[in-house]
């Protein structure tokens, strides 16, 4: 497989402008004749669907929730980055670019990341024009806060509900286009396959989740904005429905999957409370602006009430180890540091898997009211879940799976290795390298959705001869039949174990062997366990009911079946990458003081895995990463 990134030539700052000029355009009168399918109504899908319709395309948009407004982007709390430099604190497009490249541990493409930083400023303008109620200062101007991995204040926010407000902006734009007839919305509809005709993506096969009907939708181009795959770990901060099915089906039809093992473990989540736990709750990174992270210096103190431990007996380990970034160290680093102190036996709370996030000093400094104004809803959420009052006792937090940097490989046009299949947002691999900085996912989703893919789709359609595809084309029929077979096969197992029990077991295996710290030995073990568990799943899963009704067990089973296969690829990728970088930490590769040790000589590439057929090992393709504008260095936050 040939991987052509199609990064435009010329200086970094001119690439996107140059490309925009060189791209083909579609005559306004012709756009209506072209249908574009957008799977996903989150920031990356919803923004693309709305914008493509504004441009004149005929858009069909799909989501599995009952309304596009419920896409998982709604749950983002903390904020969105943009290089506005409104604070005059030294920010610039180049600095945001640099921070993102460095934050990603030098495993992302310069060209894409620079474009992201450039576009960030337009996003804020666009969102304000739509009425997104970002936080403001008394003078009426926009307010900013700081996020991890940056020393400037460039994060825009709407209380603790930034994702909600940005998504509602995109959703409202989408509904505006629905009312004009440019977008047809298909909620409660799950995509189960991509239709490929003559080597191009020409449609999708979906299941209507209410009636169970399986149908094909044809189009000139397809966009997947279907989100991340963190739920392969069962417990994560993702919404329960978040899944990998759309991108996994595309992978099996020929789209390369890039860096599947790059997973982000977020340092500040509410620790696991018990066996019944169904998901983990994030406490926004913005809390680290004011909260101080610590554990007792001595193991013996761990069982004591935190307020009874005097200052001198506390270890503010992030401030100690990383004095210049302190509590705002990047996520991968903060997560590993938490694991380390807990492994030493200095963790707090049930099972010793927790560290304190303490607002005592901040409350003394600025007062309870100010803290309540900044984080009120987060504090409330914490108290509701744990029954503890964080204004009085420090929060307990622990790392949890949060985001997946890996995803389908795309070129500069956000097109996968299947022509006509574009991928946006968390579903692609493009901009965050081996570790994403806080507040950069919302930025990427909206950059892709509002500003990039609507143009590159035009270039694709304008430069490609797209013959009409008949609904009874053999390739269309074969794809639809394959989907039916798979659904029937799942229903026919009629075993004894619930889908959830399999998902939980898979998740535990992944967390143990492919989580925060990975070793060759552990990964090999996982690669033995997972196929066995998968076989058992296909022999013994129990799905009550039929396919011709709303059947939540069936939906879940289809997703878990795909997670099994993806999990294996993640372990393979983690095993092959004999270095540590960002969120990928191989215990064999660390510096004497326990930091990630990259191997730039051998691993400065994107690993793009290609499906080679059932039962055959996937093929590894490499896209070398070239750095012309930044020097590779060991990432230091000390």
């Amino acid at each position: 497989m040939e991987l052509r990134s199609k990064i435009p030539s010329g200086p970094l700052e001119k690439k996107w402008d140059k490309h925009r000029f060189e791209m083909k355009l579609v005559n306004p009168a012709n756009k209506r004749k072209h249908t574009v399918i957008v799977v996903g109504s989150g920031l990356a899908g919803g923004a693309a669907a709305a914008t493509l319709s504004e441009l004149g395309y005929n858009v069909k948009c799909f989501c599995f929730q009952d309304s596009p407004r419920r896409a998982h982007s709604i749950a983002a709390q903390g904020g969105i980055n943009a290089a506005k430099n409104y604070q005059n604190d030294g920010d610039s497009i180049f600095r945001l670019f640099y921070d993102t490249i460095k934050g990603g541990d030098f495993r992302a493409r310069e060209g894409n990341v620079y474009r992201l930083a450039q576009t960030s400023v337009n996003i804020i303008d666009q969102c304000v024009a739509q009425g997104v109620p970002f936080a403001r200062e008394y003078g009426g101007l926009l307010a900013n806060r700081s996020f991890g991995g940056a020393q400037v204040s460039r994060t825009f926010y709407a209380r603790g509900q930034t994702g909600q407000q940005l998504l509602l902006g995109a959703y409202q734009a989408l509904e505006k286009e629905v009312s004009k007839g440019g977008v047809t919305m298909y909620p409660r509809t799950e995509m189960l396959d991509v239709v490929i005709v003559n080597g191009r993506a020409r449609g999708i096969v979906v299941r209507d989740m209410v009636s169970g009907a399986i149908e094909t939708h044809l189009a000139d181009a397809v966009i997947l904005g279907t989100g991340g795959y963190g739920n392969v770990f069962f417990l994560s901060t993702n919404a329960k429905g978040s899944n990998a099915t759309a991108i996994w089906r595309a992978y099996k039809r020929g789209a390369a999957f890039a860096n599947p093992c790059f997973t982000q473990i977020h340092p500040t989540c509410i620790p696991v409370a018990g066996e019944h736990q169904s998901k983990l709750t994030l406490m926004s990174e913005s809390l680290r602006n004011d909260g101080r992270v610590w554990v007792p210096k001595r193991k013996e103190d761990c069982a004591k009430a935190p307020n009874a431990i005097p200052e001198a007996d506390r270890d503010y380990y992030l401030e100690r180890k990383y004095p210049s970034f302190g509590n705002l160290s990047p996520r991968d680093i903060a997560s590993r540091a938490a694991k380390e102190v807990c492994d030493e036996g200095r963790g707090v709370g049930p099972g010793g898997r927790g560290v304190y996030l303490d607002f005592g000093d901040a409350i003394k400094r600025v007062g309870v009211d100010k803290i309540a104004e900044r984080y009120g809803n987060l504090f409330e959420m914490y108290q509701r879940i744990t029954d503890e009052n964080p204004y009085e006792v420090p929060m307990r937090i622990y790392p949890a799976v949060h985001y997946t940097m890996g995803g389908l490989w795309v070129d500069y046009n956000l097109m996968s290795t299947i022509p006509g299949l574009h991928v946006t947002g968390e579903a692609n691999f493009s901009d965050h390298g081996a570790n994403r900085l806080g507040a950069s996912a919302l930025m990427q989703g909206l950059a892709d959705g509002y500003f990039i893919v609507p143009l590159t789709i035009g270039d694709y359609i304008g430069s490609t001869k797209l013959e009409p595809v008949a609904a009874d084309h053999p390739d269309v029929q074969a794809t639809e039949a394959a989907v039916r077979d798979r659904v029937n096969k799942l229903l026919a197992v009629k075993g004894t174990r619930t889908v959830t029990s399999f998902h939980r077991e898979l998740g535990r295996t992944m967390w143990e062997y492919c989580g925060m710290a990975r070793s060759a030995e552990g990964l090999r073990k996982a690669l033995e366990i997972i196929p066995k568990l998968r076989d058992e799943f296909w022999r013994d899963v129990r799905i009550p009911g039929t396919g011709a009704e709303l059947n939540q067990s069936l939906e879940h089973a289809g997703r878990v079946a795909d997670f099994f296969e993806l999990a294996e690829l993640m372990c393979l990728d983690a095993l092959h990458r004999e270095e540590s970088c960002g969120g990928h930490f191989r215990v064999e590769h660390q510096t004497p003081d326990g930091e990630a040790l990259r191997d730039d000589e051998h691993f400065t590439y994107v690993a793009a895995w290609e499906f080679a057929g059932e039962g055959k090992p996937p093929v590894l393709n490499k896209e070398p990463l070239v750095f012309e504008n930044v020097a590779l260095s060991q990432r230091s936050y000390k």
């Binding site: 309304s67 749950a75 506005k84 024009a129 970002f134 909600q164 409202q172 019944h276 169904s278």
Partner: protein
């Protein structure tokens, strides 16, 4: 703790439902309400029965997917709390819990506790937006917004579109939902050009969807997991009346040349 559940079971939109009784055993007070239902569902599947269908996704009280009547109260007993954030420690050991779907003419039941809330999307489509086409927006700080206005907008914008207000209202009105969006956009300078048209179109759409009229019972505000204030309804009424008074014939867009 142990609980006795009485749950509405309905196989499809056109069938009659019934209340069924289930025993929930060994419930931990730290579980969320939905985790308790997960455990009951695992038991049902193991016993070869259909699990109870309910909508849920984020389980953080923000997506608005979840929602059920719990002992006759939308989202259950805790104020300002969506069903997914309700914890079992709020219930007494041995209690009976009655669980039903949202009841409203405009929200037909799909299955068990799952209802069709598509009407809410159509109200937004009617006018719940600012027409700002992508691209061409001016610099964000060229539109200063008084902090108070921005805070008011945010208070109203916090609506998660769950439909609890409708379910709680004796008239089945969607006024709080509609008013929240009208208030969010109407509080901002960017929202002014379309303010009248927005109120007009959203209110008419709401009426056409089969929601009841608002007679200011105030139950909606009590049930709202985001505690949206009923004051927003006054604003909606003002804008709606204003739009009727100020109604001018709309000229068609564009020229002929």
């Amino acid at each position: 703790m142990n609980l006795t559940l009485h749950v509405w079971r309905q196989t499809g939109p056109d069938t009659n439902g019934t209340m069924e009784r289930y025993e929930a055993r060994d419930v931990s007070p730290d579980m969320s309400f939905l985790e308790m239902l997960d455990v009951v569902n695992e038991g049902l599947v193991e016993a070869g029965q259909m699990p109870i269908a309910f909508d849920h996704d984020c389980r953080e009280g923000i997506c608005g997917s979840c929602g059920m009547m719990i002992n006759g109260v939308a989202h259950g007993p805790s104020k300002g709390t969506a069903t997914c954030q309700l914890h079992m420690r709020t219930f007494e050991d041995g209690a009976s819990v009655y669980i039903e779907p949202w009841r409203s003419r405009a929200f037909p039941v799909i299955k068990d506790l799952v209802v069709n809330r598509g009407a809410l999307d159509r109200i937004i489509a009617a006018g719940g937006f600012i027409s700002a086409q992508t691209g061409g927006a001016q610099d964000a700080n060229n539109i200063p917004v008084a902090k108070q206005d921005s805070d008011d907008a945010m208070d109203a914008a916090a609506c998660i579109g769950c439909g609890a207000c409708v379910a709680a209202c004796p008239n089945g009105s969607a006024s709080l939902f509609t008013a929240a969006k009208i208030s969010h956009l109407g509080a901002l300078p960017q929202g002014q050009p379309e303010r009248n048209r927005r109120a007009q179109r959203m209110v008419l759409q709401m009426d056409s969807e089969g929601f009841g009229h608002c007679t200011l019972y105030g139950e909606c505000q009590e049930a709202c997991p985001k505690e949206i204030s009923i004051d927003t309804i006054a604003r909606m009424n003002r804008d709606f009346v204003g739009s009727t008074v100020a109604a001018r014939e709309e000229k068609a867009l564009g020229g002929t040349g």
